[in-house]
Symmetry: C2
Subunit: 306 residues, 2 copies
């Protein structure tokens, strides 16, 4: 016998089985191939995760590209992140545009610019805390978010400095923030301490205080990297912005006082015991030899982007 008899219904079943297997293989393929399991799981969940809008104020300096390059790796690894970079310049720069393009982030980034008014700009040897930084830039990002984000879809806003160190796990935690809430977690190497962290009730569900050593009397004595905010809170509270009119160290309290109370904060990162972000700072670049070259009308980086 050289023939097999098959009914049309059997052919249909075969085709369906084929398609189901194809979909399963394809879905399984949609993941970072080398990352840890929770990252792979995030790829499989894909569109069901809330988008996290990471707002990064940045300004021109020798190490700018190095810092943004390090940060871009997080965006390559995490599919539900959208990067809002706000340059402190009169126009967006080729350096940042090139960086986003080369990282393949054209569709998952927004590049804005606004110059800090000169009266608020740091001068010469001013220590970096004397005037508030990033106020103008973060407010522009908030204005963009309020007019561009689809509020019917849950999304999250995080203020991400360009020289801190973030783990991929931090963003997995951030995805757990509920609508209408602000998530909080510990931050390493900040405020003179190894770790600044929220203190919780015994059942781990509510924040009762903070362990900050520096200005603990602030309403929210935490760093900008210690929290992220459900986007709907910004829509419901249009008055929530950053301000030049507040004391040093009060920017976090200034934005949060419009949006939440201590009691409503959502503790994350394993009941605030995992440190998933660190307030690292990069040394100012030493360029003595470059300055000597410039005096002779020469430079080391002619025609190159560093």
């Amino acid at each position: 016998m050289s023939e097999v008899r098959i009914r049309p219904r059997q052919v249909l079943i075969l085709i369906i089985v084929f398609l189901v297997v194809l979909m399963m293989v394809h879905r399984n393929g949609k993941r970072t191939c080398q990352g840890p399991e929770y990252l792979q799981a995030m790829f499989v969940q894909g569109d069901t995760l809330p988008t996290i809008y990471a707002v990064t104020p940045t300004y021109p300096r020798a190490a700018q590209k190095a810092e943004l390059t390090r940060l871009s790796h997080l965006f390559m690894l995490l599919p539900h992140l959208h990067w809002i970079i706000v340059e402190d310049t009169n126009a967006t720069t080729p350096l940042v545009r090139n960086l986003l393009d080369r990282a393949g982030l054209e569709k998952r980034s927004t590049l804005l610019n606004i110059k800090t008014p000169s009266e608020f700009k740091l001068k010469g040897k001013d220590p970096n805390w004397i005037k508030p930084r990033g106020v103008e830039q973060r407010n522009l990002a908030l204005a963009w978010l309020r007019s561009h984000v689809d509020v019917d879809r849950h999304s999250i806003v995080f203020f991400m400095d360009d020289d801190n160190s973030y783990s991929t796990e931090l963003f997995a935690e951030m995805s757990k923030i509920e609508r209408g809430r602000v998530g909080v977690w510990p931050v390493g190497l900040v405020g003179g301490l190894m770790v600044e962290r929220p203190l919780l009730t015994e059942d781990g569900t509510k924040v009762t205080g903070f362990n900050a050593a520096w200005r603990p009397e602030r309403p929210f004595p935490i760093d900008m990297a210690a929290f992220a905010i459900s986007m709907d809170l910004f829509i419901r509270n249009p008055q929530a912005t950053f301000s030049y009119e507040v004391q040093r160290g009060y920017q976090e309290s200034e934005i949060l006082r419009h949006l939440t109370t201590r009691d409503q904060l959502q503790p994350l990162a394993n009941r605030c015991t995992d440190v998933l972000v660190w307030h690292t700072r990069t040394e100012k670049t030493k360029l003595a030899a470059e300055e000597a070259l410039l005096k002779k009308g020469q430079r080391s980086d002619g025609g190159m982007e560093v």
Copy 2:
């Protein structure tokens, strides 16, 4: 008619078509889903790329986990990297072991340890250049490589500090290093310059010199991040090691003099015009508040790993 007649040969052809489509979909799925195209291409090439052994000496300090976390993102993104971490400790530490596990790098990393002899260790306020760093650790990694790597397969060795900034593109360039050669490229923000770089012949194929401002008389006046080495050179030159017996700034020249000449160097990174790595340095962590706590017998990070 309610039946279709199919020959066994046709069934066989159908199965083969099914399997081919399955393989194509699966292969296509094997890539980072969000990275730029050259990264996706590297995933598809997979095993045909030479393994890059990145050797990272590291030592306990407040920012250690933050720095290693940033670096781990490169390993998650680049499938052909193998991380050799060598701790300057008497035993490997849970901090580094946990970090490798949580990054999903158990199978693509090797954790070693060796303590720098105390007579070579930096003391108190010594500037960090007064004594050579990482000599013991890099030599242990070389010994491990010489006894564990399959020499019949082409592979590459790169010395990767734990606080510099690297782009993913650097590793794509490094993959082009030929057997028996040392690849070189520019490094940003080093030696007091915006960029230290090799100077090339007009056709871009050979190195004629370097633009270093600091000790340009060195045989190879370049930073540790400026080169990577085909593994076979280490096998053919077993005498090539790092040494305490050389002047400040001569470690790079010390290892390279055994392995290559200027003339044999392989210029990479778009004829040495792209800057893909930066010699950033992280500020020493300020822990005044923590020290005050410790005097009272308290600490901010009890039971936590920072």
